[in-house]
Symmetry: C2
Subunit: 420 residues, 2 copies
């Protein structure tokens, strides 16, 4: 079954807001096994919306429209969709009552145009809206289903989850399941080269790579007659990916982030960690603290942007800074060892580099970043050379630092040799 | 002149990522005076992209495509667009060289599929890409202009600003100028309420609000026959905004961020600053260190996630933590004063709160965040209550912390009373 999304709103065409509804609805449809091939955005314009709806009804089974159900003159989505589907509008008594009650609860007075929102296409299913005055609508006609939803996410999200999901689940014959395998420490093209044969010969299941900053995610998707069958089909593909990528895979759970995977390792080995950051200036700790519950393992961190702070807080030797400079493997290692000592932690991840745009030299160009991870007496040190803006260099450094932290734990505790 | 946007990427149709490119490009097109009536998203599918391009070229003057220029098999945007526009692909020598150099700088080996990215449609304008391996492309044919851009925002954004904007500006007959006035410390609906009369009666110039995390940006846009005339029309509107928002306005320069505005104030008054962060865990320092040149004013920062770290690094009293708890105005103030003392800094911004999802109580719910700024002996303390996810609460806290830091400097040095 195919689905198509049409978001209505001039504010989207002007770039005033991010289209979070599109991401939400797309993900839900994918989970429900609907194939979405098109998404569109149009303004509050009857002619263009009509044209788009006419195109959509000839190519998609389910058309989801969001936005343009408000009480004002410009809100035309319902009127236009009803016209295209050949349904006259009539007042829905329950919707009328709901609007009355909603406005009374908020202490707001009702204006004449509010009653426009109680009008619904004849014979439709009305999706009552406890969070606003615009009811949602489902219309069916000749095998096509048109679903209208209010634009505000706090109204759309619960309406979709509670009313639209069960409706669509009932209509969907195919079962589609997917699994996400996440890698760190490898680039998108290297990852793809390693599995190009799988990608080229695939039909069902399929594998698709997604590039993220410092990570690559691989989604395996299978279509079958039952959920069990779909997951059974995914197993050998996932095993093959395991064989090819080994410990570069940090999770196969879509909810797990790299920092959560690091947190799991800290928990497993009961290790405390601290951070000693120069160019990343707190962002490595900031990402680790994304994880609820990290407080048992990360108690403190140091931002040592100046040489004085590196000496004072981490005990980096003045001679090291003088001889090798702040951006050097020697300084990174002293930061890591000194940070662990200062915090009394098992681990310390240290980062020092030149984020630019100034400060680069021929020998040490902008984007040169050294990082070192101290782990129970051992040091794991890496040199990286990034390109791009100051913020991009810093973002990549953060991802690499978390990757190195993970490598250091895995290597120290002999889980696998991923540093080779 | 009309523009249309087509974003290519299965990850958008699956809802894996938010379409930030669409918001960015739409806003830029609006600034350039282009009318955008349609946005679409399609997957990496040749047939559907071809169909969409054929529709688009009959209704829009400029078609902007983003995504699908990668080195892999699924990346089909360039091949499909070239086919629709009737242009064969040939290798671009400069693009070939750029790819070689880019990969060498990163120390990555080139795989065969990388060379696909050096192929460009005959007779096109190539937009060289210092931040990645996919060059952008501009093709013109029969009055239609097709612009292809790489999907990763760190490549797309600079390419659009530096190469596409000047190109589109040249093709656009109307002169459209705009100015961005940025506010902090006020919500979108309060900001809009203060200027609803201006928005309702406007034709030319216009004022449009854009909500950002913890900030509101107001764009004033004027259309005229010359640039001078357009800017002359903007002046009285900006003066009116100045009158209504006063020192809530931190800049009228589109390039200046809130952290840059704070940096300017530190420079002006020659003040050093440090950070003492609990729930934000390094992100406040991380944002300040976005500013090149901040090193003269921010030398070190403290991440004190545990009570012990608050005592050890900042000198917060055990009694304060016992009596009032870690999330309290008392603790925030001792963190701020103690941080400034430890670092020998003029200022210290301290943040302590409950980012959730656990750890909330009836009295201190998730989202409660106290922040205090020490500034040369004075303390400025604020209580905030946020809603949303852990990461949303932390993001808002960072924006509020920078806003408070700015307020503290302005108030201490008598520039204006923005704390009233």
């Amino acid at each position: 079954m195919t689905a198509e999304l049409i978001c209505v709103g001039t504010e989207l065409l002007l770039g005033n807001i991010l289209n979070t509804n599109a991401a939400f609805i797309s993900e839900k449809c994918a989970m429900l096994g609907l194939s979405m091939y098109y998404q569109s955005v149009v303004g509050d314009n009857q002619g263009r919306l009509e044209e788009l709806l006419n195109t959509a009804r000839h190519r998609s089974d389910v058309i989801i429209l969001c936005g343009g159900l408000g009480p004002t003159q410009d809100d035309l989505t319902k009127e236009t969709a009803a016209k295209v589907m050949g349904k006259p509008l009539t007042e829905d008594a329950q919707a009328h009552k709901d609007i009355e009650e909603f406005m009374a609860r908020r202490g707001r007075s009702i204006t004449e145009n509010n009653w426009k929102q109680a009008m619904v296409p004849e014979g439709c299913k009305v999706l009552y809206n406890p969070n606003g005055t615009a009811p949602g609508i489902i219309m069916e006609e000749g095998g096509t289903c048109v679903i209208l939803l209010p634009g505000p996410p706090n109204e759309l999200v619960p309406m979709f989850e509670e009313q639209v999901c069960p409706y669509l689940q009932d209509r969907q014959p195919d079962i589609i399941c997917s699994k996400m395998v996440k890698l760190c420490g490898i680039g998108e093209s290297s990852a793809e080269t390693k599995i190009i044969d799988l990608i080229e010969q695939q039909t069902n299941p399929t594998v698709a790579p997604y590039a993220k900053t410092g990570e690559v995610h691989l989604r395996i998707t299978a279509k079958a007659e039952s959920e069990e069958e779909a997951y059974r089909m995914i197993v050998p593909v996932e095993e093959e990916l395991q064989k090819r990528f080994g410990s570069l895979i940090y999770t196969d759970d879509p909810q797990v982030t790299l920092e959560m995977a690091v947190h799991e390792l800290l928990k497993k080995h009961n290790l405390t960690v601290t951070t000693a950051e120069s160019c990343t200036g707190g962002l490595v700790a900031g990402r680790l603290i994304n994880v609820p519950g990290i407080s048992a393992y990360l108690r403190e961190g140091y931002i040592t942007y100046s040489n004085e702070a590196k000496e004072k807080l981490l005990g980096v030797l003045p001679e090291t800074l003088r001889l090798h400079g702040a951006v050097s493997p020697q300084t990174a290692e002293e930061m890591a060892a000194g940070g662990a000592k200062a915090a009394g932690a098992d681990l310390c991840i240290a980062v020092t580099g030149i984020a630019g745009p100034d400060g680069g030299t021929e020998e040490k160009p902008v984007g040169l970043v050294y990082m070192s991870c101290y782990c129970r007496g051992k040091l794991y040190t890496e040199k990286n050379q990034y390109t791009g803006s100051r913020s991009k260099i810093r973002e990549y450094s953060v991802a690499s630092a978390l990757t190195l932290l993970r490598k250091a734990i895995l290597s120290t505790f002999g889980e696998v040799d991923v540093c080779g």
